[in-house]
Symmetry: C2
Subunit: 361 residues, 2 copies
DNA sequence: ATGAAAGCGCTAACAT
DNA sequence: ATGTTAGCGCTTTCAT
């Protein structure tokens, strides 16, 4: 119970040196006599000293903290249900957040977090998790950064119209996005060569001898949705196929099943589908099985992402892998470089997709 | 680009008052003349002032930040794969974290985050996400708190032997756990009446006319695993059934399928199973379908949690609902009370489970 | 009700 | 190479 009463002063006295010397040892500044350094280290060890972050931040103007923002577009609606049973009978607080719940149901975000943590943790840094789906929530994000609570923001948008990136840029706050913003903004981002991914899917289906192809696209207001489709189409076009039936989905399992149902209604003879993410591909597979169809014998299915559901899915999905963890780590690194001033210009880092062949083709 | 150059002093000058008065206005301290208050508010608005968090924390000794720790037991192994392709050719950093990836594949954590954020956000607070599966990572957590980087920790353990709760208590750091620690520790926690949940499952299966029952349990070193089983057994015992076939799983889909395979080998005539979480129940359902079994016609399946997979599962799962979001919010509230000193004694908050009937029974 | 002034614990000139 | 010292921007007595 020796809570935070210890200061540099205490350690300095213990080691018989000045505050400045102890500070130098802690921050690994050279120009410290090795002997003295060891004495100081031992004093730190003995006293169990831990430097006060607030005091340090106050002078360095750095927090060594970054915000990881899961950002949506629009509606002011927080959808906070009232919490039910509280032990002490008080009414519950905004106990829940529909947006957050929805978002974290997608395995994609787990991978983002995993990648970000993978980069940050070896540097003794940790992300502050923020959910920003309303104007008020976005305000909280900019406020948070303006207060110097974090050095910068990692932004993962779920909608095309997300105004957060441009707001951050306008305030001069360091930010890096996962995926190129739909609206042009002078901001750094990491992204995938989505078009190339679509091409890989098309070529694989063709190589498997499938000729009656269709595609379930992602939201077409998102660059990722557009590009995956464009790459798929281009490759087919080059192979002589001018027209490809398509149906738009919203990256959810249900939307995938619905889109597929629509495609089948008009094109019952399909023998191959490219689905723009694994979650929708799962819905497609389930729909096909429910209707007695065989995957891949009757219809071959190619997903996108190589998320955890690609393995969960029956059959396991052939899919276009997006190296989300690496991309997320790179995003964190880019932000750190911006914060440190090593990098100043908005930079794009594009990763290459990779075809992973499993049992659905 | 007017980065954080603004201080209280500037606003005070602008409003023609002293720093102290502006501070009072910002912190809502009474004893401020309404007229002056408005003048100050306007000055703040006009200048776009944002108080510096570090400076405030330094004097208040509060950060208004809490850590949300996903904690595992043991191994020192971080399993960090080297990141591949970095644009500038540098080798990648610890880009990935197998533990984090595994953990976030479970929809449970998304619900925890959703609940925590639901409580924190209306208070303009945000959780720092920490992953602690190794001794080094646990050290980072205590260090983080000892530095005053956060006021306390919310701990979600994934293993029985997790030493983190007792370490935090030993350091006198405020902490609240999700679920009672397997090792007795004087710490506050929220939990579910797991035994009651097991009872609900048993009674439901009996009410459905099932008599040849079995159960796939969770890890039996976890209180949750033990209690769910105990409740299930007790209810059957009270109904006259002395023996219940069981197989232990580890809360993953695969382990559920494997456990079920074992049970079927020895008891081919089973007509009902209680599975200790939804993820395993999904595995059970898949196994049954692959073997041509009908759910629920042939075997009725009851899951636990009511996580998102309960709906994803074919058929949708009858399950025992655990109000994770509410529990997580309550956990955050408990921590805040401890931090503020309103609550001092270790407190337990037990939530009641609820049966959700869907198509698997 | 308001202002003056004393720190919170640290880093970074600057001086030695 | 080490010590001295001046703040970082805020809250909070203590006067008034």
């Amino acid at each position: 119970m020796e809570r935070q009463s210890l200061t540099l002063e205490d350690v300095a006295r213990e080691a018989g040196v000045s505050r400045a010397t102890v500070s130098r040892v802690i921050n690994g500044v050279r120009n410290v006599d090795p002997a003295i350094r060891d004495v100081v280290r031992e004093a730190i060890e003995r006293t169990g000293y831990a430097p006060n972050r607030a005091a340090r931040s106050l002078v360095t103007r750095r927090t060594e903290t970054i915000a990881l923002v899961i950002s949506g577009a629009g509606e002011e609606n927080d959808d906070g249900r009232t919490g039910g049973r509280d032990d002490d009978g008080r009414p519950g607080d905004g106990v829940q957040n529909a947006f957050a719940a929805r978002v974290f149901a997608d395995p994609f975000f787990g991978r983002v977090i995993s990648g970000v943590v993978g980069f940050l943790r070896p540097r003794s840094m940790h992300p502050v998790l923020m959910v920003a789906e309303s104007a008020a929530a976005r305000k909280q994000v900019t406020e948070f950064l303006r207060q110097g609570s974090a050095d910068g923001a990692l932004v993962v948008s779920t909608h095309a119209e997300d105004p957060l990136p441009s707001q951050l840029v306008a305030e001069g706050l360091p930010a890096v996005c996962f995926a190129r913003p739909a609206l042009p903004v002078p901001v750094s981002y990491v992204d995938l060569a989505h078009r190339e991914g679509g091409r890989l899917a098309a070529e694989h289906l063709l190589a498997r001898g499938r000729r009656r192809l269709a595609t379930v696209t992602g939201p077409l207001d998102l660059p990722a949705g557009q590009e995956r489709l464009a790459g798929f189409r281009e490759a087919l076009e080059r192979a002589g196929t001018a027209y490809v039936p398509m149906a738009e989905g919203s990256f959810t399992r249900e939307s995938g099943a619905a889109a597929m149902a629509g495609l089948l209604a008009e094109h019952p003879g399909l023998d191959g589908v490219f689905v723009a993410n694994d979650l929708m591909a799962q819905g497609v597979c389930e729909l096909l099985r429910e209707r007695g169809g065989q995957v891949p014998q009757q219809v071959a299915v190619v997903g996108f992402d190589d998320s955890s559901v690609a393995l969960t899915c029956r059959p396991p999905l052939t899919t276009v892998r997006q190296p989300v963890e690496e991309m997320a780590a790179a995003m964190a690194r880019l932000l750190q470089e911006h914060v440190q001033g090593v990098r100043t210009e908005p930079t794009s880092l594009i990763f290459e997709p990779e075809l992973v062949v499993r049992d659905s083709t």
